[in-house]
């Protein structure tokens, strides 16, 4: 006898002036290997075509279907209902702008944050399309790739106490991203230049170490380790330059 699942789903359409935030309840029979992604599609197909939620890849690669599942941010496509109790409450991710129901706009936030931390390789080398690609040690490439696996789903930001309280906090996502560039020899930024980007209370020093990011990350990125390494590194960069005069203005342009 399969379980009857009870879904409590947050409903609100900011575009509709008549819409009030509320919870709708849907019943669905559990089928083998049912994921929340399949369940939501079934509910939309069979019970309520107006239900809004995001998805694209259904295999934890695109990062669209992040939502709060019984209190915990996670990916709908990666969550099997067998791991959950019969009653499942789904809410949109906090921090991000609500599009409607379970759909949030993570894109704008990530775009802004990526711009803020200058999330690209800074190099003064002229690009030569004819030359052979620069070589890199395999171990180094692997450790960079480990951090590159982030899919920008927003779960770390939504689960972060600091990010919930302070709009300007860049979150584990950005701190992990900067760690990736610090590792990369192609990025010519110096430690003081990285410090300018994340050595603030909006950056690594705003992190209170609650580690919810570490615990919810659907990609299981080593956020605890990376944030610890980054805090130590940035703290020492700050200390090392304690007697040096401050450089004027922003860092050099590449």
């Amino acid at each position: 006898m399969s379980r009857q699942l009870k879904f409590n789903i947050f409903r609100f359409n900011p575009e509709d002036p008549k819409s009030e935030p509320h919870t709708d309840t849907f019943m669905l029979e559990e089928t083998p290997s049912l994921t929340l992604f399949i369940a939501l599609n079934k509910i939309r197909e069979e019970q309520d075509p107006s239900l809004m939620f995001d998805f694209a890849c259904r295999m934890a690669i695109c990062g669209s279907c992040g939502m709060v599942i019984n209190g915990r941010p996670g990916l709908a496509c990666k969550t099997l209902t067998v791991e959950l109790p019969e009653e499942i409450t789904l809410m949109p991710l906090p921090v991000f702008k609500l599009v409607g129901d379970l759909s949030v706009d993570t894109g704008t936030w990530f775009r802004q944050t990526n711009t803020k931390i200058e999330s690209w390789i800074h190099s003064d080398q002229e690009f030569d399309p004819e030359s052979v690609e620069e070589r890199m040690e395999n171990d180094l490439a692997n450790s960079i790739f480990e951090l590159e696996r982030c899919i920008e789903c927003g779960c770390c930001v939504a689960s972060c106490g600091t990010a919930n309280m302070r709009e300007d906090f860049v979150g584990a996502f950005a701190l992990n991203r900067i760690s990736r560039f610090i590792m990369d020899p192609r990025d010519k930024r110096t430690d003081p230049e990285y410090f300018e980007v994340v050595g603030t209370d909006q950056g690594i020093f705003g992190c209170m170490g609650l580690l919810a990011c570490e615990d919810v990350c659907p990609r299981e990125l080593p956020l605890q380790d990376q944030l610890g390494i980054l805090r130590r590194k940035m703290a020492f960069v700050g200390l090392k330059n304690i007697f040096k005069p401050k450089e004027k203005g922003r860092h050099r342009r590449f």
């Binding site: 915990r72 689960s159 609650l210 605890q224 944030l227 700050g238 203005g249 922003r250």
Partner: protein, 221 residues
């Protein structure tokens, strides 16, 4: 028109203040953790014998460590409070945000932070009262401590302050470990369990000490 507008004025100059404050917050915290654990061990010496406690107290006063160190500890506590309070939301709106967030998330480490913030407020007041009472009534002797506890009010006072301090200090110890990368992902669970047991042991030692003081015959000590 005299000169052109200095547009650079709108560019925030780089600052290292956040880094220094984070260092100070951690170092004052680590210092206070070490102090609180040593303090507990020293006071617990009354369990071995009132004379042991008296001798230790005499040593700290004869060397002026209590008279000078006491106010320094109080000042460190205040500095640590001011630094750490930067992270605690001041508006009821933000307080509501973190409260609802913690209730939604069912996440131990997030709850631990709320416990830290709450115990901090209680320690700030009760700790100050305790420091004032002890330092304005030197020398410290087992008999005087016992008399205070046996009065009833102070007994209850310390029964409240003890778990507050030990929780705050224990969680702080764990937090420094994971936040500054001393404890890696692989060691976190073990370290957390160790911190729980360690805190439990100190609360137990504290309770035994309070009971000992409550039952200590005052005459002759």
């Amino acid at each position: 028109m005299s000169s052109s507008v200095d547009t650079a004025i709108f560019v925030k100059p780089p600052t290292r203040v956040s880094a220094y404050l984070d260092w100070l917050q951690m170092l004052t915290g680590a210092g206070l953790i070490m102090f609180m654990w040593s303090h507990m061990v020293l006071v617990a010496s009354v369990n071995i014998g009132p004379n042991v406690m008296n001798t230790i107290a005499y040593f700290f006063e004869a060397t002026y460590m209590a008279q000078v160190g006491g106010p320094i500890i109080a000042a460190t506590m205040l500095v640590h409070f001011i630094l750490a309070a930067r992270k605690i939301p001041y508006t009821s709106e933000a307080q509501g945000v973190i409260w609802r967030h913690a209730r939604m998330l069912h996440h131990t480490d997030t709850w631990l932070w709320l416990i830290q913030a709450l115990t901090a407020m209680i320690i700030l007041i009760m700790g100050s009262v305790h420091i004032w009472t002890v330092l304005t009534n030197l020398p410290i002797t087992a008999a005087k401590s016992a008399m205070r506890v046996q009065g009833g009010f102070w007994g209850v006072f310390y029964l409240i302050l003890l778990p507050m301090v030990e929780l705050h200090v224990g969680i702080g110890f764990y937090r420094i470990g994971v936040k500054w990368g001393f404890i890696k992902r692989s060691g976190r669970k073990k370290f957390h369990r160790f911190e729980n047991i360690w805190t439990g042991v100190f609360i137990l030692i504290g309770l035994i000490t309070i009971i000992r003081l409550w039952t200590l015959p005052i005459a002759g000590n």
